[in-house]
């Protein structure tokens, strides 16, 4: 780790300064994570009185349970759907905004608003619009012959969760794509224009390839977002249903742990999820090190 050449000399002060953070990390991060690892190797009864060492049985139980495997699949499907839809829309809108330059500020102001909106609030609003009893869209969809009911039809539930999450997440993608495009030198795009490339061609052959580091970064950040931050949306909109169509890994950790009181099983799932995150973050670090500089 590189540091400064000029430093203060003091023996006790730095420890004092760093202690609040280190102590909180040890108590609220490292200790619970270690607990999860330990718990995942035990089976506890619902009252937490007896504890039996069961080795990897919790993992075997979780991974051999078709519903849990399905939750992993749902999580991945959900992450891919949200990433593709938000990145597609954000790329389109940000390229338009970038092309009109400074006049795009009012549009940018509106498009970033959902970043500030809580996932739960997004869930409540979409729940309202698609509610079988009062929803505006439920009513409108009837005219095109769709009987919308996400409380019964799994495909509707999955689609609704994807739409609500994407609505909330698009602004983040928009900001990063716009910043990425603004850092591309004008001269590159202009020389292509002089060579007679249409705006479409300039986008696909110059801008888009130059944005690949941004795209990769966003892909990973969107995955992390769908893994963790969409819990409120799912909890509000579908409660993981119908018939587990929207039960993601985090939703199952919550349901098994706090509704089912199966702490061992829930802890094993937490460990599986941790492995997921470590993989994703490691990928990200690798990428950061190799980041292409233009």
């Amino acid at each position: 780790m590189v540091g400064k050449r000029v430093i203060f000399k003091n023996r006790r002060l730095p420890y004092l300064l760093i202690s609040p953070e280190v102590i909180l990390v040890l108590i609220f991060f490292i200790f619970p994570a270690a607990q999860a690892l330990i718990q995942s190797l035990f089976r506890e009864d619902a009252f937490g009185i007896t504890r039996t060492f069961v080795g990897l049985a919790n993992f075997r139980r979780a991974l051999s349970e078709p519903l849990y495997v399905r939750a992993i699949g749902t999580t991945i499907k959900f992450a891919i759907a949200v990433a593709l839809s938000t990145m597609g829309v954000a790329l389109f809108l940000s390229s338009l905004a970038n092309a009109i330059g400074r006049k795009a500020l009012p549009y940018q102001t509106i498009i970033i608003a959902p970043y500030a909106v809580a996932p739960l609030v997004a869930g409540v609003m979409w729940f309202f619009m698609f509610s079988p009893a009062v929803g505006l869209f439920t009513y409108l969809l009837r005219f095109v012959g769709i009987q919308w009911n996400h409380t019964i039809i799994p495909a509707h539930a999955f689609l609704l969760v994807v739409v609500a999450a994407s609505w909330q997440r698009m602004s983040y993608n928009f900001l990063f794509y716009l910043a990425g495009m603004q850092s591309i030198p004008d001269s590159l795009v202009e020389s292509a224009a002089i060579d007679g490339a249409t705006p479409m061609k300039r986008f696909w052959f110059i801008t888009f390839p130059l944005l690949s580091p941004t795209s990769f970064f966003l892909l990973i950040m969107n995955f992390i977002y769908t893994f963790f931050e969409t819990f409120p949306i799912i909890h509000q909109l579908t409660q993981g249903g119908p018939s587990n169509a929207t039960a993601t890994m985090v939703y199952r950790i919550y349901r098994d742990g706090f509704r089912g009181l199966d702490f061992g099983g829930s802890a094993a799932q937490s460990v599986v999820l941790m492995a997921f995150v470590v993989t994703v973050v490691a990928l990200q670090f690798r990428y950061v090190e190799r980041k292409v500089v233009y």
Binding site: R11, V25, V124, F128, V134, Y139, A267, S270, L273
Partner: protein, 285 residues
């Protein structure tokens, strides 16, 4: 600049306007619903223009509350606003102060364990609250901190992002600044308060916006760590009020609280838009 044909320019503005309308639509529908009488919301279709019940509904939402679980009266949203504010401010302030202190130590001092401490903090990036939720709950419960503000805030009071950002920023501060302070005989803490903090206004402002939004929008942890109504945040209150069949919910009140729940964060993000956009896109890379 490249001069594009008028047709291209019209195309761009048209689609940006469509995009903005799609973004605003759910918020607009919620706002309209928050100004209607409950019967009007149940009309098919619901009126598309705001009604005249704005004051009545927001008054009831803030001070009286709607029907909650099992038809019982829920608390007014004013209590929830206060709780959300305590949570958001508590998380923001503690994250920023703790991170400022530790990155000050990491950048401006040499001491054994410096390297380990920094990596310990970075590891927390891989341990979001969702991953350690059950053991954290058991820990906070055994400390007797369920249903308390300390229990709500402490597990969320550390930020690797903030520590990392301050560290990066401190590294760019020229050595001459430290040198000059030392020559003038300033103690490390004097340097921290009178030179470093005033110089760090930009990253602090960015982090205030990001962390306030993070704290205000928290859901899973408050859902588990609090059971008493007096600790309900806006998010918890909203979801509890909707834990009923959707034809029984007090939609006009729920929608008023929905609007109340998103106005503060939207105002903060938009009022510091330039700084926030720059900070976000530069810090997270």
């Amino acid at each position: 600049m490249i001069a594009d044909p008028v047709r291209t320019r019209v195309f761009r503005h048209t689609f940006l306007i469509v995009g903005c309308m799609l973004v605003l639509f759910p918020i607009y529908v919620s706002f309209v619903a928050s100004t209607l009488r409950l019967e009007q919301i149940f009309q098919r279709p619901m009126p598309f223009l705001p009604g005249g019940e704005f004051l009545t509904n927001y008054y009831q939402a803030l001070f009286v509350g709607g029907r909650g679980l099992g038809g019982a009266r829920a608390i007014g949203a004013l209590v929830m606003v206060r709780n959300s504010l305590i949570l958001a401010v508590g998380i923001t302030v503690s994250k920023i102060i703790i991170s400022l202190l530790s990155s000050f130590a990491i950048v401006f001092f040499r001491f054994p364990g410096r390297f380990i401490a920094f990596w310990l903090v970075l590891v927390t990036l891989m341990l979001p609250v969702e991953v350690r939720i059950v053991p954290t709950y058991q820990l906070v419960s055994s400390m007797g901190l369920l249903n308390s503000y300390a229990g709500l805030i402490l597990p969320l009071a550390v930020s690797a992002t903030a520590t990392f950002l301050f560290r990066q920023y401190f590294m760019t501060i020229p050595d001459e600044m430290v040198e000059a302070a030392k020559v003038d005989g300033a103690s490390p803490m004097r340097f921290f308060w009178h030179i470093l903090i005033p110089m760090s206004r930009t990253p602090i402002a960015t982090l205030v916006v990001i962390q306030f939004v993070y704290g205000w929008n928290q859901y899973l942890w408050p859902l588990i760590a609090t059971t008493e109504r007096r600790f309900w945040t806006l998010m918890i209150g909203l979801s509890r009020m909707l834990a009923t069949a959707d034809h029984q919910a007090d939609w006009h009140i729920v929608m008023a609280i929905t609007i109340i729940a998103m106005v503060p964060t939207i105002v903060i993000v938009l009022s510091m838009q330039q700084q926030f956009v720059k900070g976000l896109t530069e810090s997270e890379k």
